[in-house]
């Protein structure tokens, strides 16, 4: 018989076992009768000789070898029956567990998809991203085109490819629409190891100045503008005013750093972009694939060598510049990793509290079942057998909660990802896979084991007799201690989450009240590209921009309008080196300032205070003396005084001769309310758009934004403004439209998001801890009813009894708070490392959060205490 047959025929085997033993007893008895014993005496002796029939049966069952499985089935049935008998308890336990496991599963799914799962390119671990490092600015993501070209040619260990941002209006086919684009080097697709789903990647000869214009379009654009027809290959696409031939369709969801719809070759940009020939213009993102046989260390060593050669050859631009390679996956994920782990830890704490809660529920039940267990031990059940039964019960509870939790996770994971502030890297890859399921099952079983352990260990071994003899109301001291330990750990965990949430709230408040340096109300900013038709000679371009400003100013509700290449708190920046004496500092050791190219009304639109001198006016134009306005930080750093008007500074990127400082303005928190204090480049300067040299005008025209101060709610002017600026050909569009309020608020999105989640977790923890305290105290006071009865009978007042109960709970609460404070201090350090602008743990946070917790916990203990004080001594004593 195989084991499953044995299992299948269990009932029959039970009958046979019974029959076999009966036969034995009868034989023995009849023999004894033959020897002259009375029938009763004979039966008694036979039974004594065999030993207790039930114990023998148990041992025989053990000998079958399928015992564990039978027991499992039996225990499962038993557990399900008990759960059915106590639907309230079961529902609460399942709900708690589903919440805990569901939340943990969602966080793990995100961590798994974003951090753990390899990139979806072939051999993803051989992909690297390259960065440059200078002592002056630190690490930069950007390469100059010439450095990239040299590195690509010289490297033996790495195949390199590059891309940069682009974008423009697609005027044909379909409605005019502004799309994001990327200019890529021809090798990009082959380096990543992917190929277009239709058509082909770029050929090397197409990635050259003067080559016929070709484009690869995104899968989305293909569906939108070409109806997904394969015949799109070879069709024409008018993009940024130029006709391109479509040669390929990128795979679904392909993205480098954010989505883009049009990919064009990089090198033909030589014609229009002066940065392509400038070694100091570091604007290319570079990635590489390690060639077979080389590792990351070799690649890094070779890059260091190449960088040293370039520094020798081009000391002016490359001195002190090094190149570093990082694994691509780490780079793509960026600093999201720390936030994700932080949330996973936090959610793990909530799950732990849940487990403790369910454990104390189960323990309370186990203690009240002590007599039942003692009875079973007396009837021959082994200790391990009973422990196993307890664990089966809790494992079933855990798995049940796990199944519900996975359902919960399945439903909530996409809303959660959509809720992530900014864009979560690899968000489109987030889903539940087998790893997540394994995690969820593991978490459920582990939780089950965790909360089942305490009741299982309480299975009685010795003193069964006393236990059976004692009334149901007696309670062992160890159980009380265990219960207290549960409450203490729950409170400690809740303290950690509450204090963390409090710290985040405090930080967010402090950051929100910081002065951004400009007036955030009633300002709207949008990127804007001129019609390619107007980009003729420089005079035309200047006139076109003037026209845009004039038209925008006439829109009803618009108070003032300005142009700017960078907008505070929005992505994008331009750092330029400068110096204050005629002799320049050594290359790459110059100080650096954030430079904005703006039109005269910028100060008015943004509401930045003018400290000294003047801002730009219409007399600052090409041909007149080059001027700058600096912020108070730069004045302080460069000249040691706020009184710098009339001095000159050298800004080689703007002009070979020194530039006159005409005004000083207030500092603007360009890097966001939270990030500005930590950023490396905090000095700022402004220079007039009207003085941008003619050769650069074409390039600047592609990066300018419009900002307007309005007299009506700013979003109301978007529509008329767009109408007014469409231009003669109708191909000028506003895009990335944001109010400054939105940008300021987005700069704190991460802090707010963390606060919200921690707030939810902390609230949940507080609630769970209160339920836990209530449950434990209700149970403990329930056990002490006879004692209270005696006390009251002996003259204790209701007050005395209440005080007794509350003292017990206060002891647990304060022990929990003590442990919690220590843990919270450690958690606070972790938070400070993870979140920008995080304030250290302040006493005030504890001062608010801990009384809150103590109050809630006391409230939870009040009900059992009051019930204890109202005990009627007569009925209480009669119970005993």
């Amino acid at each position: 018989m195989t084991w499953w047959q044995r299992l299948w025929r269990r009932r029959k085997m039970e009958e046979q076992l019974e029959k076999e033993l009966r036969f034995h007893l009868d034989q023995h008895a009849s023999e004894l009768i033959a020897q002259g014993h009375s029938p009763n005496e004979a039966q008694r002796q036979a039974r004594l000789a065999l030993g207790g029939p039930e114990q023998v049966k148990e041992k025989c069952r053990d000998a079958r070898g399928t015992r564990w499985l039978e027991d499992l089935l039996q225990d499962t049935r038993y557990a399900l029956r008990t759960f059915r008998q106590k639907p309230g308890f079961t529902a609460i336990a399942l709900l708690l567990l589903a919440l805990g496991i569901g939340a943990t599963t969602v966080m793990f799914a995100v961590v798994n998809s974003v951090l753990l799962r390899p990139l979806s390119y072939p051999e993803p671990d051989r992909l690297v991203t390259l960065r440059v490092f200078t002592e002056q600015i630190g690490e930069l993501w950007g390469f100059s085109n010439l450095d990239f070209g040299d590195a690509k040619r010289e490297s033996l260990t790495l195949a390199l490819a590059a891309w940069t941002y682009g974008g423009g209006t697609i005027s044909e086919p379909g409605e005019a629409e502004y799309v994001n684009g990327r200019q890529i080097s021809a090798e990009l697709f082959s380096t990543l190891g992917i190929s277009p789903v239709q058509g082909r990647a770029f050929r090397p000869d197409e990635d050259r100045p003067g080559a016929a214009p070709v484009a690869i379009i995104s899968y989305g654009l293909w569906q939108r503008d070409f109806g997904g027809e394969p015949s799109a290959i070879g069709k024409s696409l008018v993009y940024d005013g130029k006709p391109y031939t479509v040669v390929g369709i990128a795979p679904v969801g392909f993205q480098l750093d954010g989505e883009a719809d049009v990919f064009t070759p990089l090198e033909p940009r030589q014609n229009t972009d002066p940065r392509m020939q400038n070694r100091r213009a570091r604007f290319l993102r570079v990635l590489g694939r390690l060639r077979p046989g080389f590792g990351l260390a070799e690649g890094r060593a070779e890059l260091a060598l190449i960088a040293r050669h370039l520094a020798e050859e081009y000391p002016k631009s490359n001195t002190g510049l090094s190149m570093i390679a990082y694994p691509l996956q780490k780079e793509l994920v960026g600093d999201v990793g720390s936030t994700l782990w932080l949330l996973l830890y936090a959610v793990g704490l909530v799950l732990l509290i849940t487990c403790v809660n369910v454990a104390s529920l189960l323990l309370a039940r186990a203690v009240s079942r002590e007599r039942e267990l003692a009875m079973r031990v007396a009837l021959g059940a082994g200790r391990s057998r009973l422990a196993r039964q307890c664990l089966t019960e809790s494992a079933i509870l855990g798995l049940g909660g796990g199944v519900l939790g996975v359902v919960l996770a399945f439903v909530s994971i996409h809303p959660f990802v959509a809720f992530w502030p900014g864009s979560l890297p690899r968000a489109q890859e987030v889903h539940l896979d087998w790893r997540v399921l394994v995690f969820a099952v593991g978490a459920s079983l582990l939780s089950g084991l965790l909360f089942g352990l305490a009741p299982a260990l309480r299975v009685p071994v010795r003193g069964v007799e006393q236990m059976l003899r004692a009334g149901a109301r007696s309670i062992a001291g160890s159980s009380r201690r265990l219960h207290s330990a549960f409450v203490i750990s729950e409170i400690a965990l809740a303290v950690v989450l509450l204090v963390s949430a409090g710290m985040l709230g405090h930080t967010l408040l402090a950051l929100s009240s910081l002065d951004p340096g400009f007036n955030v109300h009633d300002v709207i900013a949008a990127r804007f590209a001129l019609s390619p038709a107007t980009l003729g000679n420089p005079e035309q371009v200047r006139e076109a921009w003037q026209d845009v400003l004039d038209r925008a100013r006439r829109v009803p509700g618009v108070d003032s309008v300005t142009l700017a290449d960078i907008i505070p708190m929005r992505e994008g920046e331009n750092s330029l080196p400068y110096w204050t004496t005629a002799t320049p500092p050594p290359p790459n050791h110059e100080p650096v300032a954030l430079a904005s190219c703006v039109s005269p009304d910028y100060l008015k639109v943004m509401g930045i205070p003018l400290r000294q001198g003047r801002f730009f006016n219409e007399h600052d134009r090409i041909g007149s003396e080059p001027v700058v306005v600096i912020d108070e930080n730069l004045a302080q750093h460069a000249f040691g005084t706020k009184d710098a008007v009339g001095k000159r500074i050298w800004i080689p990127a703007m002009s070979p001769s020194p530039v006159l400082i005409v005004g000083i303005v207030g500092h603007v928190r360009h890097w966001g309310l939270a990030g500005d204090d930590q950023s490396r480049v905090r000095d700022q300067m402004y220079y007039p758009f009207a003085q941008v040299p003619s050769p650069l005008l074409h390039f600047f025209s592609s990066i300018m934004s419009i900002a307007a101060r309005t007299t009506i709610p700013p979003l109301k002017v978007v529509q008329p403004l767009g109408q007014q600026l469409r231009g003669a050909a109708g191909d000028q569009v506003l895009y990335e439209i944001r109010t400054m309020e939105q940008l300021v608020s987005a700069s704190l999105a991460r802090q707010r998001f963390l606060l919200l989640l921690f707030g939810i977790f902390a609230g949940l923890a507080l609630l769970l801890a209160c339920i836990g305290i209530y449950g434990v105290l209700a149970y403990l006071t329930g056990q002490r009813v006879p004692e209270f009865g005696v006390r009251i009978a002996l003259g204790a007042s209701a007050r005395d009894v209440m005080r007794l109960v509350l003292r017990q709970s206060l002891g647990m609460i304060f022990a929990g708070v003590g442990v919690g404070i220590l843990a919270a201090l450690a958690a606070g350090r972790l938070l400070m490392h993870t979140v920008d602008g995080m304030r250290p743990t302040e006493p005030s946070t504890f001062a608010i959060m801990i009384p809150l917790l103590v109050a809630a916990a006391l409230f939870a203990s009040f009900l059992p205490a009051r019930r204890a004080s109202r005990i009627d001594p007569m009925s209480a004593l009669r119970q005993e």
Binding site: E20, F23, H24, H28, L50, C60, D62, A63, R64
Partner: protein
């Protein structure tokens, strides 16, 4: 009546195999025979007889059938399987060796041990 002694650990299985090897037999008879053959020296713990039988059956050393006894009642009769026979032979041999070795050690005179 001589003093009864407990069975050394693990010998019960060997004794059961030996008794069953003599012919199909039910549990009660095995207990009887063990006690008779050992002239009452070996105390067969009846409580552990049946678990041992079931364990041996489970390991495939014994097979069992329900048959009628002379008195007309159904009883579970155990037989030795081929596997059981081999097991019996090896265990009996090793038991024999053990006894001889223990005997030799016990025969040493106290002076000779020095």
């Amino acid at each position: 009546m001589p003093e009864k002694s407990d069975l050394p650990q693990g010998t019960l299985d060997l004794l059961i195999l030996k008794v069953v090897a003599l012919g199909a037999v039910h549990g009660y008879a095995i207990a009887q025979r063990l006690e008779q053959v050992s002239r009452g020296v070996v105390q067969v713990p009846q409580g552990s007889l049946y678990p041992a039988l079931h364990r041996l059956e489970n390991r495939g050393l014994l097979a069992a059938d329900w048959e009628e006894t002379e008195s007309g009642r159904e009883a579970k009769f155990y037989r030795l399987t081929r596997k059981g026979r081999t097991q019996l032979e090896t265990e009996a041999a090793s038991w024999q060796r053990l006894i001889e070795a223990v005997g030799l050690v016990l025969k040493l005179s106290e002076g000779g041990a020095k």
